[in-house]
């Protein structure tokens, strides 16, 4: 049983510890005087003629411009002309368009010239009554706002209108499940902009009417506010609804409701106000008059509301040198940079590099002089570096403002020295420490060229000090560079010293195997020191591998095809000579025949003559065919013709042979006889 209780207790404790707790860190920046001036300049550039903005919606743009300027307490130039122009436009419209009327009445009210339309109060009342009874949500809420504006100017009274029924009408347009408001009964879905308009109108109605029935209706609406807030989109720092207009108007109306209904504070937390404030501060660069108006509406609501008003802590100075380090001064301001009375404590000062280390200083109250809060840190012996200071701000007015815990960074800057620098190289790592392989490098001087053999290792060793104390900078690197290659390698830190060992293989890879001389720079950088770049030496590196090109694409060289050379032939004259030599036996033969003489007396006669001549002619034709083939004909043609020539050749050949055979037999028989 005891064990069970212990287990239960431990679970409860763990749940308690693991529950997310919100620490109000305040807002990271403020809407400064400079921002206001920028906005003022932007609005002035938007003035065209007598009013602001473009032609088709000048009254609306003027409403935005005047609304933003008056909320910032800035003067509106040429206000009288604006008043008369607005009045003219309303008269032209006969006070019938509710949106135009809302914009116009608001402008006149803010420029304090609303009495200019006092003569038209009856016409305005007719329009308002009509819209309060039959208008859609936006028209009704605009009519309610106009009523209150005119009421403040004593141009109408509450008795002129049935505002209680308007409350019921507005609340009836709430979508029960979602808590949002639709424009008309026939609509199926509500919108966040409608909801903002309804919230604001209900807040004003509840405040002015002071009626229990109205309060009940408002409570019904507030009850559903959590589902409306669920539509918000959230990042780590910010929270918003769709866009700037929706966010600002919904935020403004929710906090307006908060002033008449305490339950709103259950749904809108201080954290959410902070997040919305951060979101609004990120929208400083406006590009339209409407955005300018909604930005200021939102920021003003951040500055004054009943839930939580964001605070900011800013340092007067954040960079110090050890010699002038005396006090750290801070100011506590609201979102517009207005000083807020408060008590400030320093929870702790801790090095940025080791935020979880023992604080340099803890739990010390800052002295307050006017609006400035100061703490003396001259005796804390702060070394060079960055320090996180955690402030706890307790506002004097603890009803409007909540406590915040803000962390700011200060920098202690100074100079450094590089001491005990040694450059060594050796074939093996354990020989690098030997004095005979090392060369001392004096801080500020340069080592003469060192030739490092390909199979050797090299090492750079040094310490970095500030005021004779070890200092570990944020950045320590060695730059190796030649006209075509450059690399920077990080230097490792251990046991209060720095060293870098370079191997041929690694350097080759980094430098694309480009052999040659390389300059060496030591680069030391830190936010808190004057950075150092020191050319401390030059080395010669040799790589056996092929150098990698530095150009993006391989530089192709032209390729010319090498044609196969034709076989060598003898000169023409040699060929001709040989031709003559080859022909000479035939010539001698022919000459010999003519010299010796011949007698074709055995040539046959009669039919034998015909057959023999036919045969000789055929054989001659074949010879001519071969010559023809050699000169220009083709094998195909030649063979066909040869086939044709073979017929007479065989025929005449056969007849000739037959003739000679018969003749031979006849002569043989004659001889026998």
């Amino acid at each position: 049983m005891k064990l069970l209780l212990l287990l239960l207790l431990s679970i409860l404790i763990s749940i308690n510890y693991s529950a997310p707790t919100f620490t109000n860190r305040g807002i990271s920046s403020v809407y400064s005087k400079n921002d206001i001036n920028n906005l003022n300049r932007f609005i002035s550039t938007q003035k065209q003629g007598k009013l602001y903005g473009t032609d088709n919606q000048q009254l609306k743009d003027t409403f935005y411009a005047v609304g933003a300027l008056t909320r910032l307490g800035e003067s509106v130039s040429d206000a009288k002309t604006i008043c008369s122009t607005v009045k003219e436009q309303l008269e032209t419209n006969k006070f019938s368009d509710i949106e135009l009327l809302y914009n116009g009445v608001t402008i006149l009210s803010e420029l304090k010239c609303i009495e200019e339309i006092s003569s038209a109060s009856k016409k305005i009342q007719e329009t308002l009554k009509s819209k309060l009874q039959n208008g859609d949500l936006l028209e009704t809420t605009q009519a309610v706002n106009i009523v209150f504006t005119l009421q403040s100017a004593k141009l109408v009274t509450n008795d002129d209108f049935d505002l209680t029924s308007s409350v019921k009408r507005i609340v009836s347009l709430m979508v029960e499940d979602e808590g949002t408001f639709k424009s008309t009964e026939s609509d199926s879905e509500g919108t966040l902009l409608n909801t903002a308009a309804a919230y604001f109108a209900l807040a004003r109605l509840s405040h002015r009417l002071d009626n229990q029935e109205v309060d009940k209706q408002v409570a019904k609406v507030v009850h559903k506010m959590d589902t409306v807030i669920a539509n918000a989109e959230e990042t780590t720092d910010t929270l918003y609804f769709t866009d700037l207009q929706t966010t600002a108007s919904l935020f403004h109306s929710m906090l307006s409701l908060a002033s008449i209904n305490e339950k709103v504070a259950d749904f809108v937390s201080a954290k959410q106000v902070n997040q919305i404030a951060e979101y609004l501060l990120k929208q400083k660069n406006v590009e339209s008059l409407s955005n300018a108006y909604y930005l200021i509406v939102g920021l003003k609501k951040c500055q004054k509301n009943s839930v939580s008003q964001p605070l900011s802590l800013t340092l007067e100075k954040s960079i110090f040198s050890p010699s002038n380090l005396a006090t750290v001064d801070a100011f506590v301001t609201d979102i517009f940079g207005q000083n807020i009375p408060a008590t400030v404590n320093v929870n702790k000062i801790v090095s940025s590099k080791a935020p979880r280390s023992t604080p340099v200083l803890s739990d010390k109250k800052m002295t307050t002089t006017g609006n400035k809060h100061s703490i003396d840190v001259s005796n804390e012996n702060l070394k060079l570096g960055l320090y996180n200071i955690e402030f706890k701000v307790v506002p004097t007015d603890n009803e409007d403002y909540a406590e915040i815990t803000s962390t700011q960074v200060i920098t202690i800057t100074g100079s450094i020295t590089v001491d005990d620098m040694k450059f060594s190289f050796a074939p093996k790592a354990d020989q690098l420490g030997s004095p005979k392989n090392s060369q001392d490098v004096v801080f500020g001087k340069k080592l003469s060229l060192v030739d490092i053999p390909a199979n050797n290792l090299a090492r750079v060793f040094f310490r970095i000090n500030s005021d004779k104390q070890v200092f570990v900078p944020q950045q320590v690197g060695i730059r190796f560079y030649s006209p075509s290659r450059e690399i920077v390698v990080p230097v490792t830190h251990s046991a209060e010293s720095f060293s870098y060992t370079l191997t041929n293989k690694e350097m080759g890879k980094l430098l694309g195997y480009q052999s040659g001389n390389y300059q060496m720079d030591l680069i030391v950088g830190d936010q808190s020191i004057t950075p150092l770049q020191w050319n401390f030496g030059e080395i010669n590196l040799k790589f056996s591998q092929k150098t990698q090109p530095t150009s993006r694409y391989t530089e192709n060289q032209p390729i010319v095809h090498a044609f196969r050379q034709p076989e060598k032939r003898p000169p023409q004259s040699v060929s001709n000579l040989f031709t003559l030599l080859v022909l000479s036996p035939a010539a001698i033969f022919l000459l010999g025949i003519f010299v010796v003489g011949f007698n074709l007396g055995k040539f046959p006669t009669g039919m034998g003559f015909i057959w023999t001549m036919g045969f000789i002619a055929s054989v001659s034709s074949i010879a001519l065919l071969i010559i023809n083939y050699w000169i220009h004909s083709t094998m195909d043609v030649t063979l066909k013709r040869l086939a044709l020539l073979l017929i007479p050749t065989i025929f005449f050949g056969h007849r000739s042979m037959s003739y000679y055979y018969n003749k031979y037999n006849t002569e043989k028989e004659i001889k026998k006889d």
């Binding site: 989109e233 990042t235 918003y240 769709t242 866009d243 700037l244 966010t247 929208q283 660069n285 406006v286 590009e287 954040s318 940025s352 590099k353 935020p355 960055l386 920098t411 944020q474 950045q475 690197g477 560079y481 450059e486 690399i487 920077v488 990080p490 680069i523 950088g525 830190d526 936010q527 020191i529 950075p531 150009s551 993006r552 694409y553 032209p558 390729i559 010319v560 095809h561 044609f563 196969r564 032939r569 023409q572 060929s575 040989f578 031709t579 030599l581 080859v582 022909l583 036996p585 035939a586 033969f589 025949i593 011949f598 007698n599 074709l600 007396g601 055995k602 000789i616 071969i626 083709t634």
Partner: protein
């Protein structure tokens, strides 16, 4: 009536085909993904510049389910990812890589926190982004008007591809995460840190291993299909605030840098195309008259190609006047030559074909940093000489011919005389 119908249908099909062909370059449909839509105001100048150029911007929050591709057609031509922590159901790394494979362009901006989706995309495109919660610092080159040493004054612009930044020399104010760019001809380190820059932890500035010019700030990928991907480690680079920053009373180069970078990324320049190829035979050593158009070894041919470059500002193709490389390849290049173009972008050369027969590839290429890939390939067979292509009479062989014919004639005469000669003695008998 039927004829009119068929002409009408043909016209529609042709129009659709032409549209799809010319939609490859110069498309303006752009999807802009933001962390939330309210951030649109932060980059209003940048978006207005794009809109002025005719880009149709579709703004979507990172949470919305946007489809990049449907049934093989892409719904957008360009994608702007201004949501460093993007983890979307539809815009996944695979979807974006598929979008890039389709020849579309992507501009990604990061911050010191980057989602796995963005990391995957960058990695596939040759860029290794540093770990979350790191920034690039430079204790030497930072905006001295601010105490923040991560607000760099960066001026290490890409040198070998002037087309990207068009000669910009004004330094840029940069604050963001670093990345390492892989050694690859397709990757472009558009902006890097200086020799003294390094990537350090956001919390205490302690350096990581990435230092010097290896520390990429803005890098791009020019893919082989002409798609371009740019990654900037700083989303702040595109803000109105960044455009208005000054450096020692001079305007920073941020606005020009971004405009030049984005116009290149969105293929407004540096895209090439080729047309009007002419490859004809001028002269031949072959004596054959059979199939005169077929290329024979040792033929002299004329190669002519028109190359044009896309001008996104004028939205038209203009002549590309530079140099192209022509290779005649059969497994290995047999001929490689460089052709200079005339003012009309015509590249013409006469070449003698090799004395090796086979199927050859005539490949014209342009490899110029910052320009798209251009490869014009045509394959042609080169045949050897026919039996009748060679010379008919070889003077060196005349002795053989003479021997042959003298033998024929001699034998013929000798035979006649031998057969029909009547001996005088025999006559006397």
């Amino acid at each position: 009536m039927m004829m009119i119908k068929s002409i009408f249908v043909s016209f529609i099909i042709a129009s659709v085909l032409l549209t799809s062909v010319f939609a490859e370059v110069g498309g303006k449909r752009t999807l802009v993904v933001l962390e939330n839509l309210s951030q649109k105001n932060l980059y209003s100048t940048f978006f207005k510049t794009l809109e002025k150029k005719g880009y149709e911007l579709d703004f979507q929050p990172a949470t919305t389910e946007v489809v990049l591709e449907k049934y093989g057609d892409f719904n957008y031509d360009h994608l702007v990812l201004f949501a460093p922590t993007l983890e979307s159901k539809t815009i996944t790394s695979n979807a974006v890589l598929n979008f890039i494979d389709g020849g579309n362009n992507v501009l990604i901006a990061g911050s010191n926190k980057i989602s796995e989706t963005i990391r995957d995309i960058a990695q596939e495109c040759g860029m290794d982004i540093e770990e979350d919660n790191t920034l690039v610092y430079d204790h030497f080159n930072y905006d001295k008007s601010q105490p923040d040493h991560s607000l760099l004054v960066a001026d290490q612009f890409i040198q070998d591809s002037p087309i990207i930044l068009q000669g910009l020399d004004k330094p840029v104010i940069y604050k963001g995460i670093g990345h390492k760019i892989r050694s690859n001809p397709l990757n472009f380190a558009v902006l890097t840190g200086s020799s003294t820059a390094y990537s350090g932890k956001k919390t205490n500035g302690a350096s990581t291993k990435l230092m010097g010019k290896s520390c990429g700030l803005v890098s791009s990928l020019q893919a082989r299909n002409n798609a371009r991907v740019t990654f900037s480690g700083s989303i702040e680079l595109f803000t109105d605030k960044s455009f208005g920053t000054t450096l020692e009373k001079n305007q920073s180069g941020n606005k020009e840098f971004v405009e030049n970078l984005v116009s290149w990324t969105f293929q407004e320049r540096g895209i090439l195309r080729s047309s009007q190829l002419e490859l004809v035979k001028i002269s031949t050593e072959s004596n054959s008259t059979v199939a005169p158009d077929v290329f024979t070894i040792k033929d002299e041919v004329s190669y002519s190609l028109k190359v044009e470059e896309y001008d996104g500002v004028k939205n038209e193709w203009v002549p590309y006047v530079s140099q192209i490389q022509l290779e005649v390849i059969m497994l290995d290049p047999y001929i490689r030559t460089f052709i200079k173009g005339d003012s009309k972008g015509i590249y013409k050369i006469n070449i003698k074909l090799p004395d090796v027969y086979g199927v050859f590839t005539f490949e014209a290429t342009v490899q110029k940093p910052g320009y798209g890939q251009l490869e014009h390939i045509i394959r042609k067979p080169i045949v050897p000489f026919r039996h009748d292509s060679y010379e008919r009479f070889i003077p060196a062989a005349f002795p053989y011919y003479a021997a042959c014919f003298s033998m024929i004639i001699g034998t013929f005469i000798f035979s006649i005389i031998f057969l029909f000669n009547k001996d005088p003695k025999h006559i006397q008998i």
